[in-house]
């Protein structure tokens, strides 16, 4: 489904607040490499102080888009604006952006302080002031006592914070983060996410964050742009993306998803009836206003929105337990279901209430599930 460019743009005005001018405006920007389209024409506006995540699998165009904003790539078409100024032709070193690279790219021949000062010295800030500001920023990331160390002498998490301090000290108009957590181990990653989000929020710096990790995207972002095959599939708050995915790709890429195939039996007078492999399901017509009788659609439901009920419950889809995975706080049940579009149906039940493998059960679907029709499938 190609989203109308106008729909991709955020509301200009937040209720109760004066309309904010976008900090970054991506206006129909596209890029191809050797004839292969890496980024389809894309329109995006990023508000001042906003934390926007570009989320997608590798090769989806998110890094290309980041490099276009940074200026490492030049767009084939379209224009880029930072703080209302046209920057499409402006070289990287004049864009006033801060970048945290995936492997941090700290200068190995300089100590931590010199690394952080670098961006200030290039701007002609006097040595004493540069030093004070660098130390201040190092205090912000709690590394002021490591100012004399070389990057190699620091742990991964510390190196990452130096990279962040180096990018923030210049007070960039936009902060770009290119998968900054991918080199960290799991526990450190969670701690760094919270720390980064706090720092970003307290400084109010407009941030574009690139990741393939949907968990990171959901926990840190003000808005997420989900990308696939060089295209922004959906843009919205984490809640919108999670609860109302625009298409099947977004629904399955972000979070766990159950998909059921059904046929529209009737679609009239406010009611939509579906046939899910023999189970009749009645929904409000607003769930899929454009669906016509006879059309095959997909019903999308999050595991936590599905409930395990007794077999034979009206409107519930019959299924068989194929296996149970103990996960501590709960048990993940995988159910074989004739209506399932792909793979098993998955849902989580309390540890105390686990049916046996092979037991016949039924799954009650949410009252207002998301229906994918046509291209959204």
């Amino acid at each position: 489904m190609l989203i109308d460019p106008k729909l991709q743009q955020p509301a200009e005005a937040v209720p109760g607040q004066p309309p904010a001018r976008p900090a970054v405006k991506i206006d129909g920007v596209s890029k191809s490499f050797d004839g292969t389209l890496a980024l389809e024409p894309t329109w995006l506006k990023i508000r001042k102080g906003e934390f926007l995540t570009l989320l997608g699998p590798s090769g989806c165009g998110k890094t290309t888009l980041l490099n276009l904003v940074a200026g490492f790539l030049e767009p084939d078409k379209g224009e880029l604006f930072i703080d209302d100024a046209l920057v499409t032709q402006v070289p990287v070193h004049k864009r006033e952006i801060g970048i945290v690279f995936q492997n941090y790219a700290l200068f190995p021949h300089m100590n931590v302080l010199k690394n952080v000062e670098y961006g200030l010295r290039t701007r002609g800030v006097p040595a004493a002031e540069a030093r004070d500001r660098a130390m201040e920023t190092l205090r912000l990331v709690k590394l002021d006592q490591f100012a004399d160390r070389r990057p190699k002498q620091l742990s991964g998490g510390q190196q990452q914070r130096v990279a962040l301090a180096r990018a923030l000290v210049i007070r960039p108009k936009v902060l770009l983060l290119d998968e900054p957590f991918s080199a960290l181990d799991r526990n450190l990653r969670a701690a760094m996410q919270i720390e980064l989000k706090e720092i970003q929020h307290s400084l109010g710096v407009t941030t574009i964050f690139v990741t393939h990790d949907q968990g990171e995207a959901l926990s840190m972002s003000d808005r997420i742009a989900v990308m696939s095959k060089g295209r922004v599939r959906q843009i919205g708050s984490p809640e919108e993306i999670y609860a109302s995915p625009a298409d099947r790709f977004v629904g399955t890429f972000v979070g766990d998803a159950n998909l059921l195939t059904g046929t529209v039996t009737t679609s009239e007078s406010g009611t939509l009836t579906l046939d899910l492999a023999g189970t009749a399901l009645t929904l409000p017509q607003s769930a899929a206003p454009e669906a016509a009788a006879g059309e095959t659609v997909e019903l999308f439901a999050r595991p936590e929105a599905c409930q395990l009920v007794a077999p034979g419950t009206p409107g519930a889809v019959p299924a068989t337990v194929s296996f149970a995975v103990y996960q501590g706080a709960h048990v993940e049940l995988h159910l074989a279901c004739p209506a399932a579009a792909e793979g098993p149906i998955m849902l989580r039940v309390p540890v105390a209430n686990v049916p046996k493998v092979g037991a016949a059960v039924a799954v009650a679907l949410p009252e207002a599930p998301v229906i994918f029709t046509g291209e959204a499938q």
């Binding site: 940074a70 490492f72 070289p91 990287v92 070193h93 004049k94 864009r95 006033e96 952006i97 801060g98 970048i99 690279f101 492997n103 790219a105 700290l106 200068f107 190995p108 021949h109 670098y118 961006g119 290039t122 701007r123 180096r166 990018a167 210049i170």
Partner: protein, 269 residues
């Protein structure tokens, strides 16, 4: 660890083999080393009497002093200019795609396959045909030709190992291209450049075959002076010079190894 007799046999035969190879490589030097302390004025082996007189003579002989001076001047200018040119070529080969890149690479490396003899002879004929005198400048030019492939190779390897993202990071922090070059790229390439220069200097200092065609009485290098000496005299002075020579070069290499970690720079670890 359980060691079978076969393991012992293999371990010991391996050690013996290594010792033999080292002995084979070092044997000529050991002979020269012993001969240099021979008191007799005829190169005989093994020596009957011991003395340091040939070392004293080596330092007093003017041709050697002039040769060292000429060789040092040629090595300094030749390897420095070769470093500048070679860095430029290596940078272009590493960073840019263009037509004829493979050809340029081949041309730069060609003096590796052309014998120094041929290079010297060719340059002699060329210089004679356009009436260029056999000057110090011509010798410097000759040495640049000979050491250039080694410099290009050394700098090229450093560039290959260079993390390009560091330049991107500097650029994003507001550094204009020239500033990136002088604060990031060059400082990080310095060990590679220094090692390249040092190798060039040692090669140039050792070069004999090609130089033989192009020196005159005033510009003769140390190896040529040694060659001329041995044609006239058969005393152990040359053995003494050889020992001094080897010790000096080895000391330089060890220092370079300590400061620049040569095996890393040359990508052979």
């Amino acid at each position: 660890m359980n060691c079978t007799p076969l393991d012992h046999l293999l371990t010991w035969s391996g050690r013996i083999l290594v010792a033999l190879i080292l002995g084979f490589v070092l044997l000529p030097f050991v002979v020269v080393l012993i001969a240099s302390f021979n008191h007799s004025s005829i190169l005989t082996f093994p020596p009957q009497d011991w003395s340091l007189r040939w070392y004293a003579h080596a330092f007093e002989y003017d041709d050697f002093a002039d040769g060292v001076k000429n060789s040092l001047i040629i090595a300094a200018f030749g390897s420095t200019l070769a470093l500048v040119a070679g860095t430029g070529f290596a940078y272009v080969l590493n960073r840019y795609e263009f037509r004829g890149k493979a050809t340029l690479h081949a041309v730069l490396m060609s003096s590796l396959v052309i014998p120094n003899f041929t290079i010297g002879l060719g340059l002699l004929i060329l210089a004679a045909s356009v009436s260029i005198p056999r000057s110090m400048g011509l010798l410097v030019f000759l040495h640049i030709t000979i050491v250039l492939p080694f410099v290009v190779r050394s700098v090229y390897v450093s560039l290959q190992n260079f993390e390009r993202q560091l330049e991107a990071a500097a650029e994003s922090l507001g550094a204009a291209p020239r500033r990136v070059l002088f604060t990031i790229t060059l400082p990080l390439l310095l060990p590679g450049l220094a090692a390249g220069w040092l190798f060039a200097a040692i090669l140039s200092f050792n070069e004999f075959t090609a130089s033989l065609f192009l020196v005159n009485q005033r510009t003769q290098t140390l190896p040529v002076a040694m060659y001329n000496y041995v044609r006239e005299y058969a005393d152990p002075t040359l053995a003494a010079v050889s020992v001094i020579y080897v010790v000096a070069v080895a000391a330089m290499l060890i220092l370079a190894h300590i400061f620049f970690r040569l095996e890393k720079v040359l990508n052979v670890d």
